[in-house]
């Protein structure tokens, strides 16, 4: 019988800084703590006293990689408070902004963070260019990232902290040259996306544990901005009801918050979205990978990587469809008078459901706000999975030295974002 602690500081190849500690007593895991070690930057407190117009750019700075998702959620919350209905074209441009983000962000996670584990390499840059398969992966990875980056830049001005999307519309509209170039790049990477889907379908890692999951399901096509929150138990919630849906859990050891659903842990992100809404994927996506989609719904957390790869394909197909069939015409920003109101914005960020809330005053100044990020919702699930993983490894006689890598791999599959996770403790928490 063994009693020991496993501690990992500064987990690598994830967004932001996290650590994990596991306590094992007599061959049983008795405690798991997954912590963000980022210092709080107090974004929600800093919302107080700011003009409503400044909120999207402000909340964007919560996170580098998901910044454009924070902008979309914040705009939705502010428009909800103002009673402002965006134009149909604005909604399409926002959808395209999210497609650019999904392609770029998922490709970063799949190629730079997760793929090296499959190949037994320390870094994506260590891939051997003289090996045809590894050479292909290197070129595919950077080409997909670049195409997503190009799309985000064309539509939103930048792929990080976008400058064109505003409350009420967009400041700039894509031109024909840019649209043609984006379509060309997206069509060029489609075979590479199919290759990475195959790669993650065939990857050797599996960790299955039945758990709840939930995500925003749109009325129409698979997407990331509109819809109702649907759970794996089949319940459907209006996004404004999130306070009844999610229960806040205090983590005294972390600078982050956690949430549960009906007293149990749940997961959000690509895996949840594909599980809940795979029928709504683009017809071309469904046609190309029927045998892959047959694997879902799944609770194998390593299928989160596969689900991300599927979402890249959907976003490519959807974006090409939109860009080749629509004409974009400049339109002015819609405006509405300030009023006393609460606004809620919910979007599917790359890592899962993201909630923003603003309390607006009649003077146009924000009284208070709230942000709930995906990683906070996955927190309890991650800890429970790590406990189960280590128990299983001990039972199978795996040496202790091999355990940290196994933990890191599983955490990476969740694609946590610690930059996001660190800021949202409720103030009454003591």
């Amino acid at each position: 019988m063994h009693t020991f602690n496993l501690d990992m500081e500064h987990i690598t190849k994830i967004e932001g800084d996290a650590s994990i500690s596991v306590k094992v007593e007599n061959d049983k895991v008795t405690d798991v703590k997954f912590r963000t070690i980022e210092y709080k930057r107090f974004f929600t407190e800093a919302m107080r006293g700011k003009s409503v117009m400044a909120i999207p750019a402000h909340l964007s700075r919560i996170c580098g990689t998901c910044s454009n998702a924070h902008i979309m959620a914040a705009i939705e919350a502010c428009e909800d408070a103002l009673g402002l209905q965006p134009s149909e074209q604005t909604e399409v441009l926002r959808a395209l902004t999210m497609h650019g983000l999904i392609v770029r962000d998922h490709a970063l996670h799949l190629y730079l963070f997760s793929l090296p584990d499959i190949y037994g390499k320390d870094s994506f840059l260590d891939f051997d260019e003289s090996d045809p398969d590894q050479h292909q992966m290197l070129h595919d990875g950077f080409a997909i990232k670049a195409a997503g980056n190009f799309l985000a830049t064309l539509i939103a001005g930048r792929s990080v902290h976008a400058t064109y999307p505003m409350i009420g519309g967009f400041l700039h509209f894509p031109d024909k040259v840019g649209i043609d170039e984006a379509v060309k790049k997206l069509e060029e990477i489609r075979p590479a996306v199919l290759r990475i889907i195959q790669k993650f379908k065939d990857q050797p890692f599996h960790f299955d544990r039945k758990t709840h999951y939930m995500g925003l399901v749109p009325d129409g096509n698979f997407g990331y901005i509109k819809g109702f929150v649907k759970t794996s138990t089949g319940k459907v919630y209006n996004e404004k009801e999130y306070h009844h849906l999610l229960h806040h859990v205090v983590l005294p050891y972390s600078q982050a918050s956690a949430y549960d659903y009906e007293g149990e842990s749940y997961l959000v992100g690509s895996l949840a979205r594909i599980n809940i809404a795979k029928e709504k994927l683009h017809p071309k996506t469904k046609e190309s990978i029927p045998e892959v989609l047959a694997l879902f719904p799944s609770t194998d957390i390593f299928h989160n990587n596969l689900a991300q790869a599927i979402e890249i394909l959907h976003s490519v197909d959807e974006a090409v469809d939109i860009l080749t069939t629509r004409i974009f015409t400049p339109e002015p920003l819609k405006k509405a008078p300030n009023r006393d109101a609460v606004g809620i914005g919910v979007v599917e960020a790359p890592r899962g459901t993201l909630y923003h809330k603003v309390v607006l005053g009649a003077d146009g100044v924000i009284k208070e706000g709230e942000v709930i990020v995906p990683t906070g919702q996955n927190q309890i699930n991650i800890e429970q999975d790590i406990g189960r993983l280590i128990d299983g490894l001990i039972a199978n006689g795996v040496e202790r030295e091999k355990m940290p890598f196994e933990m890191e791999k599983l955490i990476r599959a969740y694609d946590p974002c610690m930059s996001c996770a660190s800021h949202f403790l409720k103030v009454e928490w003591k």
Binding site: D17, E38, Y39, G49, S67, S123, N149
Partner: protein, 170 residues
């Protein structure tokens, strides 16, 4: 031991949203081949697990300094590197990571227990307030062009023989 021919770089994130890390990862789309030859990525947490904390030619520092532990760490990095570059708004201006410095009295009172509980500094600092900075790349996120210019200038200074072709014009 033979001298390391490549330029040893480290990329370190302090209090920030890591947006410049993302911009750096996007710059790799166009520059990865050339940078693989030019740089020894000694400590780049976003790219690899086996990070080595020894001596660096260039250390890129993203983020503001928010805790005593950050102060120790940045001093340690400074002692190991020939050149230190502050990257992005939080490192260069301290904002927005240090927005609590400018909070009202009421706001400061509301967050005081959290600042104290996790042992953060009373005031968030810029990198230059703690250690000597050799170059700065401002922007939120960092300005790509200015980053490439800074890299070219440092490569030219540290290893003139490696400076052709320059990263900015490859």
């Amino acid at each position: 031991m033979a001298p390391n021919k490549k330029i040893a770089i480290g990329w370190f994130s302090f209090s920030c949203c890591e947006d410049s890390t993302i911009v750096f990862s996007e710059l790799l789309n166009d520059h990865w081949k050339e940078w693989k030859e030019l740089f020894d990525f000694r400590h780049v947490k976003v790219l690899k697990s086996n990070n080595i904390m020894d001596a660096f030619d260039i250390a890129f520092i993203e983020g503001a300094i928010a805790s005593p532990e950050h102060v120790e760490r940045i001093k340690d990095i400074r002692s190991r590197t020939k050149k230190l570059v502050a990257i992005g708004a939080c490192a260069v201006t301290g904002l927005p990571a240090g927005q609590r410095n400018n909070f009202t009295k009421e706001q400061k009172e509301r967050i005081a227990f959290l600042v104290e509980r996790f042992g953060a500094l009373p005031e968030v600092k810029t990198v230059a307030q703690v250690v000597q900075v050799d170059a700065s790349v401002p922007g939120c996120p960092m300005d790509e062009k200015k980053f490439l210019e800074a890299v070219t200038a440092l490569v030219t200074e540290l290893r003139p023989e490696l400076a052709q072709p320059s990263p900015a014009h490859a």
